[in-house]
Symmetry: none
Subunit: 190 residues, 4 copies
């Protein structure tokens, strides 16, 4: 099929993107290099992706498909720790670093990507929280949106500013610190 062929090519190009970003960071990432690696003409790339940034977005999606998977059977805390660990690894990986550059560079594109990809994942996490509430793990009247920012924010902050990937211990401490009040209040109010 046409579609299949196209898909095959797209896949090939995205693999080249992942390979390129794994070898060097975003500053040496060029379309021409990707085309050469993929054995493809530049025009073929531009046929499907309007900008270099789109390539990075898509590569990041490919690279982080599993990061946002939740296990509704497990506790909220366990899920958050798992997710943040995977997120930290993903963001610290060259592909994630590239994503951060692109997000910082192209505000509108960043906004779109956030709306279309990251926000829905966050919605999933909200659903998880809802479950936790229903299971009595955390109290219901708590600013969970804000709480999520205090979880996701520090991960990004550490990577960009401290230039350091938060390790498991950091993330464990972070999660415990942040969800404690939501739990403690619950306990207190009992």
């Amino acid at each position: 099929m046409n579609v299949e062929k196209g898909s095959k090519r797209k896949q090939c190009i995205l693999n080249a993107v992942l390979a390129a970003l794994s070898e060097a960071d975003y500053s040496q990432f060029t379309i021409e290099d990707i085309a050469a690696r993929a054995g493809v003409g530049k025009s073929t790339i531009y046929r499907w992706w309007k900008h270099k940034s789109d390539l990075v977005f898509e590569a990041f999606k490919l690279h982080t498909e599993s990061v946002f998977e939740l296990d509704f059977e497990q506790s909220l805390e366990h899920n958050l720790v798992q997710q943040l660990c995977k997120l930290a690894v993903a963001l610290n990986h060259p592909v994630g670093r590239a994503l951060l550059v692109v997000m910082a560079e192209h505000r509108e594109a960043a906004g779109l990507f956030f709306q279309e990809y990251l926000l829905p994942r966050r919605v999933q996490t909200r659903k998880l929280i809802q479950c936790a509430i229903e299971r009595g793990e955390v109290r219901a009247d708590y600013p969970f949106e804000l709480m999520l920012d205090t979880l996701y924010g520090p991960i990004h902050y550490q990577i960009i500013f401290f230039n350091r990937m938060p390790d498991d211990a950091y993330i464990h401490n972070l999660v415990r610190l942040v969800i404690a009040p939501a739990q403690r209040h619950a306990l207190l109010e009992e």
Copy 2:
């Protein structure tokens, strides 16, 4: 004096940087434009700043001198709210946006800038916390480093990913949420 003369020119160039970044974002920010705005040869810029990133760093410093001023007479909460508000404004300003791009792009340069400029400011905040401990505002045994990440992190996260400047209400809520446990414990332990 030599110093004054040099400073005058440098000042002029940095003003051009601020002007340029105010009119358009970092992607249209070019050395040649800065040189033209400042009425200066390109070489004069390259004589003092090795990279475009250095220009941005310095412009950011200039632009945020007052952001990190603390008032040790006031409460910790008040200081944090004030500082985060000013930080949010500064980061959301084109100069701050440019800084974020540069930090994401140039890891090493970012590390240096963080060590030399941002970390010392954070040390000041730590001192403020020490005061607050001594004044009994907050308990002593609390992971304040981590707490600071949960304050600074969300501000950056909101700006980069939500593409939105946290407003005063957000920051008030954030600070209250984050320092509450440190205070509550203190109260509880009395």
Copy 3:
């Protein structure tokens, strides 16, 4: 066709070179100006010509195609006068002046150009001399290589050092003076 298309653009660039050199001398001759005149990017020029000198060489070839045409029906003297007259005009033209600068500046490139372009023309002149010998115009045992230097040399010398284009009278006298011995001996030996 590819060739034609490329040729068209190359032609366009070479025309720009000729135009530029006609308006100002080699010292104001810049690649950027050529690119602008030809409505072409700089890189397009650099794709085909490694150095500015190559542009000048090629422009000179274009400009002097007819200079070295010989008429084997005519006498040696007549041919030499004709050729030297055309050569004088060509060298005195801005394009020729530029060639002289480039030849003086880039010895190796000059050597190549001489080998590949000027020497073959000189070989033609040698053939003409051979004809003249066979026709009895000049004697066979004469150092014609050296003689050619005493013809071409003064033309260049006048242009570079006297900054003056040799006129027809000068060239007539020169040729007569130089070939007389070759002829006279022939006569004497009869």
Copy 4:
């Protein structure tokens, strides 16, 4: 004295020029390099020489003072051979090469230099010819100006175009070929 001091400095600069041109050709010849070599500020150079070309002219004069010395006791032929040999060496030396570049580049400056320096030397040679005429070495009615061009021209021609320094044999043959008619005619008319 002021003059002496200035002279000392000028000498020092000219030595630096000769040294620089001996090590690399004119294309790497920069004022800044000369200033550094001479341990002198750029402004000191520009105080005495308006342009880079003037430096080359003066260095060439310094370098060729002895080239144009004639020995009126010796025969015309001997003098010409000697002079042309020395000229060939001088022109082939980097300083001479630089002179050729500058002459080709700056027509007006070249004209001035020719008028003020080279032409007077040629006048000396004319005087020598006058002696030769009076001594009966050569006939009086001969186009000696043109003849001189056929001597000097080929030397320059060989150096610039053949990129080859004429050796003694070449020069001997050249001189003999060129002055033979002037001598032979003299003989014939006796």
